[in-house]
């Protein structure tokens, strides 16, 4: 769905939700709700990356209707918590850009491997494009998966000896075992 279609939870319209709470228990609950919101939003809108510097332009972190937005400290707190559960990872040193794994890399890996096994595509080479954009995969959860994320997912499988990545300048493919 598009960003405009996304249905926000009631907390999104509650001003204190955008202030990092000092009370420990309240903060824990608040971060938990934000985590779920981020993951759900990214899944719903099929997005995979985020740049903190652009946060003020994203409606996820900025509710213009009540004139409230998250500050950088808060966003980092949420992302750090997501990182802890392997649902996010920074992709640059300054931690401005992040990948959001609304399925963890492990989960994606299992999903893709199961699909490949059940569709009998093991021992054949697939291009990365086919794997995520091909006609056969349109109904799959991993359809449209970001290429960088996909490569990370495949590396997980590589470590488990379930595939081998073949990345060349002109072609990017993978062979499953």
């Amino acid at each position: 769905m598009s960003e405009e279609q996304y249905e926000w939870p009631w907390q999104y319209s509650f001003p204190p939700f955008f202030t990092l709470q000092p009370h420990a228990e309240t903060r824990a609950r608040q971060i938990s709700v934000w985590r779920n919101l981020v993951l759900d939003y990214f899944r719903g809108t099929k997005q995979y990356t985020l740049d903190i510097r652009e946060a003020s332009r994203q409606s996820l972190f900025c509710n213009t209707a009540i004139n409230r937005k998250l500050d950088t400290e808060f966003i980092l707190a949420i992302l750090s918590d997501l990182q802890r559960t392997q649902n996010a990872a920074p992709i640059d040193k300054q931690r401005h850009r992040w990948e959001i794994y609304w399925h963890t890399l492990e989960e994606w890996a299992n999903m893709i491997y199961n699909y490949v096994s059940s569709s009998g595509a093991t021992n054949s080479v697939l291009t990365l494009f086919e794997l995520t954009q091909g006609d056969d995969v349109q109904s799959e959860e991993f359809c449209g998966l970001d290429t960088d994320v996909l490569i990370k997912v495949l590396r997980v499988l590589e470590n488990e000896r379930k595939c081998e990545l073949m990345l060349f300048d002109d072609q990017q493919g993978v062979k499953f075992f």
């Binding site: 509650f14 204190p16 955008f18 009370h23 409230r68």
Partner: protein, 262 residues
């Protein structure tokens, strides 16, 4: 001119020969006369001052005696030797009375600071107990300082003395006690006042009003903005409110983040 002066001085003795001349005033005219009379007045003043100082040295002699006596008494108290004879007590009190001191709680009257502070604590408690109850059970130490000193009139308290006395209140079972907020604000509050009950009542108010800032709460309760802020912070500490900190200021809402049913 000489002739005239000579004449003038001759006439005055004769004029005043019939009656005894007033002791220090010479009859003179002109500027010199005025100058002379000023000089005479100065001399008079000098003399009367000397006389007065004579009295003062008498006072000092008396004071010496009194100081001796009080030192005696305090030594006796310190060493717990012998009794202070009734005679000495009476003499002491009469000295004090003659100086116009009825019986104030002053530092000098007490041997040790602790005794002083205990009595002070009781006095302060009496003075501000009712006003504190009237304003909701809590008053900042600065307000207490003003009220106490206004009530005492003379013999004003230093802030230090006030603080030390207030520190003792809890241990003396007085109806008030000193409370220190995390922010450093110090208040005197009723011992019956309970943090959690404040949090509860403030939380109810938040539910009613939707949200409140310190200024709004202060206005509503008729208390200072500082105390209102402390109330809101206390409520937050108990998890009964959450804060909204933005460019529009700091406001508090009921803690729906934690407590609202999903």
């Amino acid at each position: 001119m000489q002739k005239k002066r000579w004449e003038a001085s001759q006439t005055s003795p004769t004029a005043s020969a019939s009656k005894p001349p007033p002791p220090n005033i010479k009859l003179r005219t002109g500027i010199v006369g005025i100058e002379r009379s000023i000089q005479e007045k100065q001399k008079q003043t000098d003399e009367s001052i000397s006389l007065a100082f004579q009295d003062l040295s008498k006072l000092m002699v008396m004071a010496k005696d009194m100081v001796h006596l009080s030192q005696n008494i305090s030594t006796k108290i310190r060493e717990k030797q012998g009794d202070i004879t009734e005679d000495e007590t009476v003499r002491f009190k009469s000295y004090l009375l003659s100086l116009g001191i009825e019986d104030p709680v002053t530092r000098d009257a007490y041997k040790s600071d602790n005794q002083y502070y205990r009595s002070l604590a009781k006095q302060i408690s009496e003075i501000v107990h009712t006003p504190i109850t009237e304003v909701g059970g809590m008053m900042t130490l600065t307000d207490v300082y003003c009220r106490v000193n206004r009530a005492r009139g003379l013999e004003l308290l230093s802030p230090e003395d006030l603080l030390n006395a207030c520190r003792l209140m809890e241990s003396l079972d007085l109806p008030l006690k000193l409370y220190l907020f995390e922010s450093g604000v110090m208040v005197l509050q009723l011992v019956t006042l309970n943090d959690e009950s404040i949090a509860d009542s403030t939380a109810e108010l938040l539910e009613e009003k939707g949200s409140l800032s310190s200024e709004e709460l202060a206005q509503f309760l008729g208390i200072s903005v500082m105390l209102a802020k402390e109330r809101l912070l206390t409520t937050e500490k108990f998890g009964k409110s959450c804060r909204d900190d933005s460019t529009e200021g700091l406001r508090f809402y009921p803690n729906w983040i934690l407590n609202r049913e999903e």
